[in-house]
Amino acid sequence: MSPVLRSASVGRRALLGLGAGAAASALLTACGSTSGTVAQPAGEVPARYGRRTRVVLWSTFADVPGKALQTLVDRFNAGQRDIYVDVQFQGSYDECAQKAVVGLVAGQVPDLCVLSDVKWYKFYFGDALESWDDYLDPAWMDRTYQPRLLKEGRLKGHTWWLPLARSTPLFYYNRTLFRKAGVPDRAPRTWDELYEWSKDITKLEVKGKRVALEAYQKIDGDWMFQCSAWQWGGAYSDGLDVTIDHGGAVAAAEWQRRLVHRDRIAYMADSPQNDLANQLIATHVNSTGGLKMLTEAAKAGGWELGTGFLPRQEEFGVTTGGGGLGMFRRTPRERKQAAAEFVRFLARPENAAQWTVDTGYMPVVPAATKTPVLARLMKDDPNVHTAVKQLPLTRKGDQVRMMVPNANVQIYTGLQNVWSADVPAEKAFAAVAERLRKNVDRHRDSIEEHL
């Protein structure tokens, strides 16, 4: 063996020893601390705002709502001298939450973060959220926000999550196609009624393609299906007891399975919203947040959009959804105060109204409905009014879907099996229920401790 190789073998052992030592010590200290203060995500600040307190807002809004939020932020930045809000788009609700979790591990999170109605619980149960009560007067919050929506973000007497882009599912339909089919120009009162109408609706063709009755959303379809489960008298869970595998939830899924696989008048789609916009389907249950886009698509496509309350079956059921704002406990107090100032700005009636007008999200500040801009729109466009009228009838989603990590994904994966692979609902939901129960057992203590 050459001297170099001999020495290399000795060196390798020494270095491996060193490496193992370093690894062991690092293991003990464990990388990724989840305590202590955190850094602020980097970003460009325009020179004219350079000396202000910078607030980073992680947003989930692109396109129409993205522009609407940026307009409000620009107005805020131009209207005072102390704070600069830097909006950073992070993708979908899921992606934004993922980045925030990783950011907490890495020690770098935003000062304000848009969190979905499902995802904020993850941060709350992990004691990562800051209560708004130290930064915004609870009495002011009570006076300002829609009580039903504000209550959803309140637990153990503190407010953790403030309403911003809240929505409910609405029943959208193509009025032009309804008229052509000779069915009443209104949302159906029951799903049975819609089924009756479907015989006429699905005879129609647009651009050589037969019109389908409806489409189910491949990703996040569990949100719309929450309403279906209630409408058929069932639920995902009763408290933390999983009930998806029997009763109304199974019946509702069987109904949809029949429409897809037996009647062939419905299907699962990547974007049912686009399919409604392109007149491939005549009806669709979708978020109020899609109202602006669909209104514009209908105008461009030369057809008329209608909206209504969701149809009932055994009972009426509609849930809330969408996003709200959270602050992380580990960011510095000064920036939290600045973030709260921006939240106060967003909650001014004229700004909340503009947000609703520009996006279609529900007016989370009741006073906004009295502003001229929103009052006029609600008068002129009955579709905007539908969401506001339906709001008092909404209820918060079932606990397991909201609070158990990944429950929403497990439910919509089960639904995909029903819609796509023709798996009987009972079988698909039995598998989902088994996974959910395991997850509930894993997280029960933490959930119960925080409620």
Binding site: G19, A23, V101, L104, K218, D270, T413, Q416, A421
Partner: protein, 321 residues
């Protein structure tokens, strides 16, 4: 017993200059060895440091995480031993994921190598335009997975995609490739084949162009047909290339993620949930770091085993020229 100087091999009577020269030899060698050590350390240490930090440390830390129950937010990582591994092995969904991974890897690796070789054989012909075709064949390989996924979502769209006019003349309705669980895995394999086959073809082409001409001439003189020449000469002589492609393709296919994330999200249902997607799903959607890390360790061991088996058994059949 006393050992004399003579027995030790030394010599008391030796002249002082000679003794000094003999002593200087080992000292010089030792100095040289030390210098070699230092030189080796100077060259190897930076690389080793980065390997340690960015390759070995994540594996070690991942192994540690796989023995814990951690939701990625809580400050406490609860040690649970091998529970995550036991749960995974007992989980029918995880076994389904492994089976899907096998189908996915076999489809892409086998399909890619057969298609890649066929394309390379065509490109190796002295025909006009082969350079352009070669570039076009290789181009998809350099595209990002996100772009490829978005592009193929349009192609596969049963209402507006390219697939519709392609199937219409045959009297067939375009299948909903990405929303029908019967088709989704097949659709993904097609996309990955489109993306990766160009690379396989170019590597095979390089192998073909370094083939000895005289062997082919001799075989042609002996009356060997084109098919026989392919079977008896080309394929055996390409075995080192095939071996390289097999090892690298299996590893990269196991790691496939980007196109799946854009096109199917592991669905519909779990029809396209391969191991890499499962690891992501458990880690970043379920925030179950322990289970995700255990899945990653299983993938690491599976890849290590496959690569080891390939090296042990297939390399023997490789014909190095």
């Amino acid at each position: 017993m006393t050992v004399t100087d003579a027995q030790r091999g030394g010599s008391v009577a030796a002249p002082p200059r000679a003794a000094s020269a003999q002593d200087a030899g080992p000292r010089a060698r030792a100095r040289r060895r030390r210098r070699d050590h230092l030189l080796f350390a100077a060259f190897a240490a930076p690389n080793f440091f980065f390997l340690l930090v960015f390759a070995y440390w994540p594996v070690v830390y991942n192994g540690y995480l796989s023995l814990t129950d951690w939701d990625m937010i809580s400050p406490v990582k609860k040690f649970v031993g091998l529970t995550n591994y036991v749960d995974l092995i007992a989980d029918p969904d995880f076994r389904g994921t492994l089976w899907t991974t096998v189908l996915f890897v076999v489809g892409i690796v086998a399909g890619g190598m057969v298609l890649g070789l066929a394309i390379a054989l065509l490109l190796n012909q002295k025909l006009r335009g082969t350079r352009v075709v070669r570039t076009l064949t290789f181009a998809p390989y350099v595209l990002s997975g996100a772009a490829v996924g978005t592009l193929w979502l349009f192609v596969f769209d049963p209402n507006y995609g390219l697939i519709r006019p392609l199937m219409a003349p045959l009297g067939l309705t375009a299948p909903a490739m990405m929303t029908d669980s019967k088709w989704s895995l097949f659709g993904l394999v097609v996309v990955y084949l489109w993306k990766n086959t160009g690379f396989v073809a170019v590597v095979y082409l390089a192998g073909l162009q370094s083939m000895p001409r005289d062997v082919y001439e001799a075989a042609a003189l002996d009356g060997a047909s084109a098919w026989t020449r392919l079977r008896r000469i080309t394929v055996p002589l390409l075995s080192p290339v095939t071996f390289f492609l097999l090892v690298t393709s299996v590893i990269t296919t196991f790691q496939a993620f980007d196109v799946i994330a854009v096109m199917t999200g592991g669905g519909p249902g779990t029809s396209t949930s391969i191991l890499s997607w499962f690891i992501y799903d458990q880690g970043f959607r379920a925030f179950d770091a322990g289970r995700s890390a255990a899945g990653a360790m299983i993938m690491f061991v599976v890849l290590l085993l496959i690569t080891g088996l390939q090296a042990r058994y297939l390399e023997r059949k490789v014909h190095y020229q």
